[in-house]
Amino acid sequence: MIRCETVLHSLDALRDGTLGKPEEEEVRDHLTACGACAREWEVTEALRAAIRNRVSAPAAPAAFREAMAHLLARQASPVGWFARLQEAFRRQPVAAMAFAAAMVLLVLVPLNVWMLSPREIVLPLVEESINEHIRLSLLEAAPEIPVAELQPLPVRHRRRLEFFNPLSFPDDREYHLVGGQVSYLLHRKVLAVIYSHRPKRPITLLVIPNAGIRLPEQLLSGRGKVYWATHQGFQMAEWHEGPFIYSLVSDSDEGDLSPLIEKLQHQ
């Protein structure tokens, strides 16, 4: 015969369904026969029902739920750069598009320069050199060269006298340097100077940083490796010299330019 103390100790296991079959039957039989244990069962059942039906706790606030969903999603799937970009587009489309455009330019501009063939590089160089020559030739007064603007040039060019010496030939009456200035060509800061040659035959020399520009090796001819071209009625001569490309433009012919090239290459 099972004791009341044992039955009372087994009631939660009976609720749980974890009593063995014979033990469960024994407890149930006892509850039928024992008024005190049956009352205990009934009171506890009433209490459990009251707790289940009337006790409650607040649910998670919506803002907290949303924050947790976001946090857990981020923790579960660490966001890669692409997903971050997508998220940025979603949150701040204007700023993100500006950033994306800058990234594209950052890639495409060098790629574009790299992909251009040497001839394609030379053509804009030729055209812009001619434009600069025309612009300088039309100026009434010879342009001055501001000292402060000579920073991109080698050390020997930083002071006016040092600069003029290698490009001017005081003893030479044919090629007289009259002036110059810093200009912009192919998105680069360049030095542009102008020589007086024969009357109304000015020659413009452009000294251009050669980063990203190549002169086609197969087209460089003669001593000093000069690239010659005639374009829109102008005679062009271009060659490498250290980190620069030198570009001469004139409506004189090749014979007028060659002595100057010789002087410039040996100064």
Partner: protein, 183 residues
């Protein structure tokens, strides 16, 4: 799922499963502390710990019970409480229900107001309250309750018995105060 780590897809699924138990976790934390910041902090830490340890969870077992055990452990850690055995007779200041009035008592319990039930539960020592809430309110099994509280099954049974006894005493006392107020 005792693996070194889960794939992103598995973790994502696990995170979604966690969210299904957010209300229950929040409610249980509310019973442990009424301070909202503390509740949210406790639940958040519980979820993050669970996600980090997701590979240790055994599929097919009760995820909710596993989460509750993490929350309870975290609460003990924060509160600086040691998991301790509570002697059943260490609280003797609770009113007892006279044995011969059991039928009236059932009536008292069945008609008890929600606020009285809340107050009676809130007044219970934490160890008893947790056992009663987990088994009677949240419906965990004895074994799960024992695992959540990190105590033996037998201790759960004695805490349940003692906790309910105290609850009954308080509800009985509330009903007597209410009767006196009406007279």
């Amino acid at each position: 799922m005792d693996r070194v780590s889960l794939s992103e897809e598995e973790k994502d699924r696990f995170a979604k499963a966690l969210l299904q138990h957010l209300d229950a976790l929040y409610g249980f934390a509310w019973w442990l502390t009424h301070r909202r910041e503390e509740i949210e902090d406790l639940v958040q830490e519980t979820c993050l710990r669970a996600l980090r340890s997701a590979h240790q969870f055994e599929p097919g077992t009760n995820l909710k019970a596993w989460l509750f055990s993490i929350l309870k452990h975290e609460w003990f850690r924060r509160a600086g409480l040691a998991q301790r055995e509570v002697l059943a007779d260490s609280f003797s200041d609770n009113p007892e229900v006279p044995g011969q009035e059991w039928a009236v008592e059932v009536d008292v319990i069945r008609t008890a107001l929600q606020k009285d039930l809340d107050e009676a539960l809130r007044a219970l020592p934490e160890e008893y309250r947790s056992a009663v809430l987990l088994f009677d309110l949240y419906g965990f099994s004895l074994k799960e309750t024992a695992e959540i509280l990190a105590i033996p099954d037998g201790t759960v049974k004695s805490r349940l018995a003692r906790g309910r006894q105290m609850l009954r005493g308080r509800l009985w006392a509330y009903s007597k105060v209410s009767d006196n107020d009406q007279m």
